[in-house]
């Protein structure tokens, strides 16, 4: 087994089995790190907790809902400033965050009364919102507060409201992934099948494992609507609580992030016979294949082809412009669970970037299987890295950029490695054809940022040039390009708008007659 031992983790020998280098003769039966295990004591992990995985990843993107944490206010930290799962109802669920504000006295005397008061107060403060999710936290789980009983009391007293309870306290799993699992199963057990939807198309899907980061869901929804497909629900980005209660009526589950949402797809298949189709929404070729597959399932592939043709003609020249300037740059692909495998191959094929490392903090071995299978030979795959290992990897691999979350990203900046926010994005959406170009544009901007170029100079010892004037990104990126590429009229920089979602929300769609 080609394990990789970090110098900084020699004092934690168990860590050795959590990193491998993909060798030229290795397949997945030879190179796979351990994963989804409790963090090893002594390793300062950067994972989220099971509560975070349930609420902040999956629950809170639901838009027409009061999301309340039964616990201290600190548990609601992740909101407007860290999360970007926007919604088309003025971001209600993102702008407002609720907690019962549990204090020490409640730990001693119980917090059920406090919870009930908070639920009623929240519903009264926002009378137009009739749906609520409540999340257990470590403190209230330990004192044994019965959230289900309180929620039922309120629903009995206020018959026009509906409440979903998620029992996924922070300690309820090795990482946020434990929370993904719990909320998937809780939702299908408690809520799916409770609402009968109005079916308006012959082609009905649930779009699952999509969280509308900076509008990703709305981009995909646009494609599906142009194909005449009814998206019954989105689990959960920009999704509606009641639509998600009607998931059982879809003809097909289209699954994007299997890491966070395969559980509900698997259960929908077992309980309701709805098949699961795994897709890739990132990159021209994978997205085109995905749209074709969905179209083919319903016998409307020509509608997908029309979209692919239009979008490719519009955006491919811009993707090519960036590919010319990004080819050969080294990248550490350090996002969450699914993006490492969504991107590992296509970012190499369509942008020319060389993936020198993949990591996941909370992914399972299944995610690493996909990621390692898709990346090139020589890549270092790390499970649940600690901060020192991340630093050591960057010093060793010398990437031109890392794609990761904002917390490890700030660490990278300190050692002068540019980073792009792979979780919440810099200037997304990144899904769709145009989105993929925006992603390439952001990577380009990060790698060739003049500020970053200046930061490579150490003012304590390097000579600081004072005769060159200010340099632009283009001066750096085009310095070694052939003249034919620099002056090519077949390629161009990104020409889209700053906000590409606002127009989508006003768009009108063709009507396709329903046959059945």
């Amino acid at each position: 087994m080609p394990y990789h031992e970090f110098d900084c983790s020699k004092c934690i020998p168990e860590r050795k089995k959590h990193a491998v280098v993909k060798g030229p003769e290795d397949d997945l039966t030879k190179a796979l790190p351990l994963g989804y295990l409790n963090t090893i004591p002594g390793s300062i992990s950067e994972r989220g907790c099971a509560y975070c995985g349930a609420k902040h990843v999956i629950g809170t993107p639901m838009k027409d809902v009061i999301h309340i944490s039964h616990g201290p206010t600190g548990c609601t930290y992740d909101t407007w400033q860290t999360k970007r799962y926007i919604s088309d109802n003025d971001n209600f669920q993102l702008k407002r965050t609720f907690a019962t504000d549990v204090k020490e006295k409640h730990i001693v005397f119980g917090a059920e009364k406090l919870l009930k008061e908070n639920i009623i107060e929240a519903f009264r403060a926002f009378p137009e919102i009739k749906r609520m999710t409540i999340y257990q936290t470590c403190a209230t789980a330990l004192i044994g507060d019965d959230i289900d009983a309180i929620a039922q009391e309120v629903m009995d007293e206020m018959p026009d409201v509906d409440i979903f309870v998620c029992n996924s306290p922070g300690f309820g799993g090795p990482s946020q992934s434990g929370g993904h699992h719990k909320i998937n199963i809780a939702w299908i057990n408690q809520k799916v099948g409770n609402v009968e939807p109005v079916i308006t198309s012959d082609y009905v899907i649930n779009y699952v494992g999509e969280y509308n980061i900076q509008g990703d869901q709305e981009i995909m929804l646009d494609f599906f609507r142009r194909m005449g497909i009814q998206v019954l629900s989105t689990f959960t980005g920009n999704g509606s609580y009641d639509e998600l209660r009607s998931m059982h009526r879809a003809h097909l589950n289209v699954l994007e992030c299997a890491r966070s949402a395969e559980y509900i797809c698997n259960e929908l298949r077992v309980r309701y016979g709805i098949p699961r189709l795994d897709i890739d929404g990132f990159g021209f070729e994978p997205l085109a294949s995905s749209l074709r597959k969905v179209g083919r399932f319903f016998g409307i592939e020509e509608r997908a082809e029309k979209i692919i043709e239009e979008e490719s003609a519009r955006w491919k020249p811009e993707l090519d412009w960036y590919k010319e300037r990004l080819t050969g740059k080294k990248i550490c692909l350090w996002p969450g669970g699914s993006k490492l495998w969504h991107w590992a191959n296509v970012i190499h094929e369509e942008m020319g970037l060389d993936v020198v490392s993949v990591y996941t903090k909370f992914g399972h071995q299944g995610d690493m299987e996909k990621g390692i299978a898709r990346c090139e030979v020589g890549a270092l795959a790390i499970d649940d890295p600690n901060e020192l290992e991340g630093l050591e990897a960057m010093y060793k691999l010398k990437p031109d950029i890392i794609l990761t979350g904002k917390r490890p990203g700030e660490v990278a900046k300190k050692i002068r490695v540019p980073y792009l926010n792979a979780h919440a994005y810099h200037n997304g959406p990144y899904k769709g054809f145009e989105g993929w170009v925006r992603f390439a544009r952001d990577i380009y901007n990060a790698i060739y940022s003049p500020i970053h170029q200046l930061s490579y100079l150490d003012i304590s010892k390097d000579e600081i040039p004072d005769d060159g004037g200010f340099k632009t990104q283009r001066m750096y990126s085009d310095a070694t390009l052939p003249e034919a590429v620099k002056t090519s009229s077949a390629m161009r920089e990104y020409t889209g708008k700053y906000d590409i979602i606002a127009e989508l929300r006003k768009r009108e769609y063709p009507e396709f007659n329903k046959k059945q």
């Binding site: 397949d27 997945l28 039966t29 796979l32 351990l34 989804y36 199963i185 003809h251 097909l252 299997a258 395969e262 559980y263 698997n266 259960e267 298949r269 016979g273 709805i274 098949p275 699961r276 189709l277 795994d278 897709i279 890739d280 994978p286 294949s289 074709r292 597959k293 083919r296 399932f297 495998w341 191959n345 399972h364 071995q365 299944g366 299987e369 996909k370 299978a373 898709r374």
Partner: protein
């Protein structure tokens, strides 16, 4: 002309780089996916009919037809093979994918009895 092992390696590489269906979360899921999708792909490559009357089968067919189309497009040597040779090749591919994703897999979660 590559030998059968080289052909299997090329076909496997395409699946690993471009597909996701082979990595469902449990051993029984993976075996079922491999059997149905690769079984249908073999039939399609041989010009045989496949039954897509049930939604589950139609979903397998979607992935299988994508695979068959790409195999024919990317690997010229398919056009020189007889149906018997294609079936033999696809059986070898199926065994290889079963080994990599299930029987020889290091993924300890595959044996978890529940989703």
């Amino acid at each position: 002309m590559p030998d059968i092992n080289e052909k299997v390696a090329q076909l496997e590489n395409f699946i690993m780089k471009k597909c996701l269906w082979q990595f469902h979360s449990r051993a029984w899921d993976r075996k079922r996916q491999n059997e149905n999708i690769l079984g249908m792909t073999a039939k399609l490559l041989c010009g045989e009919e496949v039954d897509t009357s049930k939604p589950e089968d139609k979903c397998y067919w979607v992935d299988a037809s994508y695979l068959a189309e790409n195999y024919r497009e990317r690997f010229d040597w398919f056009s020189t093979m007889s149906n018997d040779e294609i079936k033999e090749l696809m059986q070898a591919l199926r065994e290889r994918i079963d080994f990599v994703t299930v029987d020889g897999s290091l993924n300890e979660e595959l044996k978890d009895p529940r989703y």
